[in-house]
Subunit: 466 residues, 2 copies
């Protein structure tokens, strides 16, 4: 509690203990006692992400005062590190003038990200307050579809003509670093702005200042079309180990660049989306999302599941007469349905992940289907036999054991096939395979599991009741 | 088929069509007809990852001949782009001498990655063939635990003393670029090799050559301890937008560096692991894994699931007498168990993802528990009432409707609590929350669902049979 703030900052820096309550307490104390100079010293030592984290634990009045201690540029960077919900809440408390002051200090992609989260009524007002060039850049970025390369890129980059010298390339870096912090590459364009190649800074540093750019530039970078989906852009980066890539419009004119740190975020977000959607949660829910809103979204999903559960149970109801005669069927039927569900989950996890990584396209369906169906048959036979053996040992009923074995083999083969085909069909229909697969596939395995087990049981009823 | 290889290469380059069968056909034709010069031209145009992709579709003899067309350095980079299994297979076909030739051309981390995948008996032989310095670096990297920062880092980096000038820093880049392709940063160390700060190349380029390094260096990079878990390292990169970070030993001596493109791979791998494990598949299964091996691993998981399914069904068997009297209970019980499972999946998806992103530690349990339990109660009441209403409308039985409502509310509250607590407890026990959560939690919700529904039904039996 009474730690020296500098010592605290150093601890924070070296031990990464963001959840250390002492740091929050310290900030609160400094704010309450208006010890502004110490506060400024502490803030300098902290990362933007950590300031954002600490900000979350302050009350409204403290937040506003803390933000005012930061430069407008840093205010924007801290805003960007907040969760979406909290950023929106905080932006609502600022006047359009205050937002404009922050936005005009940012690189174009950060500016666009902040403006996107403004309440509708103030967006136009904020944009109108920006200097003309910023206004144009931001308007352009906002015009691209949400998940496109265009929405991800920044408009600030260093570029030179093919005919320039190394000296001129260095001047272009000087200009670019005034607007942007992360310059790793100088792009080479022709007089029409068409992308031609690039110069890595380490190569540039070693070249003599009068060397022509054309002589030392590299050409192996893939320019990314401005409308490419960000998931595909991320696949390019992972596959080819890019650091910074030019983005071009339909005429091959370079309009921006995307760097790998943006991609890191995309990869994490896309993975989060898949994991959350596979679990039946909306793609943006976190532990800090408002409970009521999260609950509404979850209930929609639960309700759809309820309908499919009724569907599966209506299959069971067809066989009530059979169950009444052989009640142990009721005990065993969840095993058949559940194991089908498990087999389907296994298949779906592999398929969905391979789709996401770009290793499986709809054209790869036949091969994947053969693999999964083979495995479904192998695993179904093995687990079916084990289950049959177990049932026989417990009940001594050989016919019942055969019925459950057969039903499980059938259901697990169906599960593997459905678990492969449904995600790929959804992908082909441009529906996220993760969002809808579990619902369709589990209904499928439940229905097929009950149907095969109880159906076979009804067929064999004379032998089961004896 | 008869496309000009250059044209083909250009297509490959600009349209990213890795799964274009024509590219593979073209390579095969060139190999078969021994048109080596055209083949070399085509290979120059392709990315390492694409060569690796095409390699997979060649037969053994063609593979070996294609690899021989590549320089030893590139051979290693292509090897690295193959799936683990295929890399191991291919390495087995090479002599220790051939492997050593490849390995000594690589940066230390690539070298270590390749050596790690060698068959045990040749590892020592290959290492002994390396030049002394490489041998030491590789041995060091191999000595770090598999998922540590040490195993991830490369030993090649540019460094200068604090007292050096910009000119000397540029010389250090010259030395470093001879061993390494991706230099974005010059690290500043003291005479003992302790990490002091860094110089971004864009700042360095703009500084005058006689400026002292100490004057322009930045100090805000966090040095990563060599034994830090790679998942935590990845969290640092995402949180603080690092590009290249120094790795230090226990004495703060800089021993290597990690760059963001390595982290991109870590993030994708960790996400894959979570998705696959949540689905009940081993963390490294892909569509190209050998079927038999994948099947064995999946069957282990399925067998554990089978045991828990028997456990749940033994709960049902306790109530067979009740089901015999009110057979509709058998029809409805999967709904209660299934909806509990769905509610638990929702909670687990949020919890597991937040743990993975470093946003939830065991100390955050109480708050998460309150959030999820509240939502479990809200959602349970809503879905329970809807289900009760549905059952009443279908059957006209008010007591049955009340029983299923109550059972669902109870089970969904339990599901939310278990879905939060179990992953966090597993995390605390150092077990991957993703691997075991679904198994424990689903058993839990099945058992509780059957127990609450059938138990309540037995209590209310006199009112149900009438």
């Amino acid at each position: 509690m009474d730690k020296d703030p500098k010592e605290l900052a150093r601890e924070e820096e070296y031990s990464f203990r963001r959840d250390d309550p002492a740091a929050g307490d310290q900030i609160e104390t400094l704010l309450d006692q208006h010890r502004d100079i110490e506060l400024d010293e502490l803030l300098v030592e902290l990362y933007d992400a950590d300031v954002a984290y600490l900000l979350q634990h302050l009350d409204q009045e403290q937040r506003e005062r803390l933000l005012l201690r930061l430069s407008p540029e840093r205010r924007g960077l801290v805003l960007l590190e907040l969760d979406d919900e909290e950023r929106k809440d905080l932006l609502e408390t600022l006047t359009p003038r205050q937002v404009a002051e922050i936005v005009q200090e940012q690189e174009s992609d950060v500016a666009a990200d902040i403006i996107e989260d403004l309440p509708e009524e103030t967006t136009t007002e904020v944009i109108s307050m920006l200097p003309q060039e910023d206004r144009r850049d931001v308007a352009e970025l906002l015009s691209y579809p949400e998940n496109s390369a265009g929405a991800l890129m920044t408009k600030q980059f260093a570029s030179v003509l093919e005919t320039s010298t190394v000296k001129q390339a260095i001047q272009s870096i000087r200009r670019a670093t005034m607007q942007s912090d992360d310059i790793y590459t100088v792009y080479v364009v022709d007089a029409g702005g068409h992308y031609k190649g690039h110069l890595a800074l380490d190569k540039l540093i070693l070249a003599s200042s009068r060397t022509r750019v054309k002589k030392i530039m590299e050409t192996e970078l893939l320019p990314i079309p401005v409308n490419m989906d960000r998931e595909e852009v991320a696949q390019m980066f992972t596959r080819y180990n890019f650091i910074s890539v030019p983005v071009v419009d339909a005429q091959d004119v370079m309009v921006g660049r995307i760097t790998v740190d943006d991609i890191l975020e995309v990869v994490e977000e896309e993975a989060s989306e898949d994991i959350l959607r596979m679990g039946g949660v909306s793609a943006d829910e976190t532990l800090t999302s408002p409970i009521f809103q999260s609950s509404v979204k979850r209930n929609i999903w639960l309700f759809v599941n309820l309908l499919t559960a009724f569907l599966a149970s209506s299959v069971v109801s067809l066989f009530e007469a059979t169950i009444e005669k052989v009640v142990i069927l009721a005990t065993l039927m969840p095993i058949v349905a559940g194991m089908g569900g498990n087999a389907a989950s296994q298949t779906m996890a592999v398929i969905i992940r391979n789709i996401a990584l770009g290793d499986l396209s709809p054209s790869g369906l036949p091969r994947a289907l053969v693999r999964e169906a083979t495995m479904g048959a192998m695993n179904g036979i093995l687990q079916g036999l084990i289950t049959g053996l177990g049932v026989f040992l417990f009940t001594g009923k050989i016919v019942l054991a055969c019925v459950i074995s057969a039903a499980m083999i059938i259901n697990m083969m169906i599960a593997a096939t459905a678990g492969t085909a449904i995600p790929l069909v959804l992908k082909k229909l441009n529906v996220d395979p993760a969002i809808a697969s579990s619902i369709f596939v589990t209904t499928f395995t439940d229905v097929c599991g009950f149907m095969s087990f109880l159906g076979l049981a009804r067929l064999m009823l004379p032998y089961l009741v004896s």
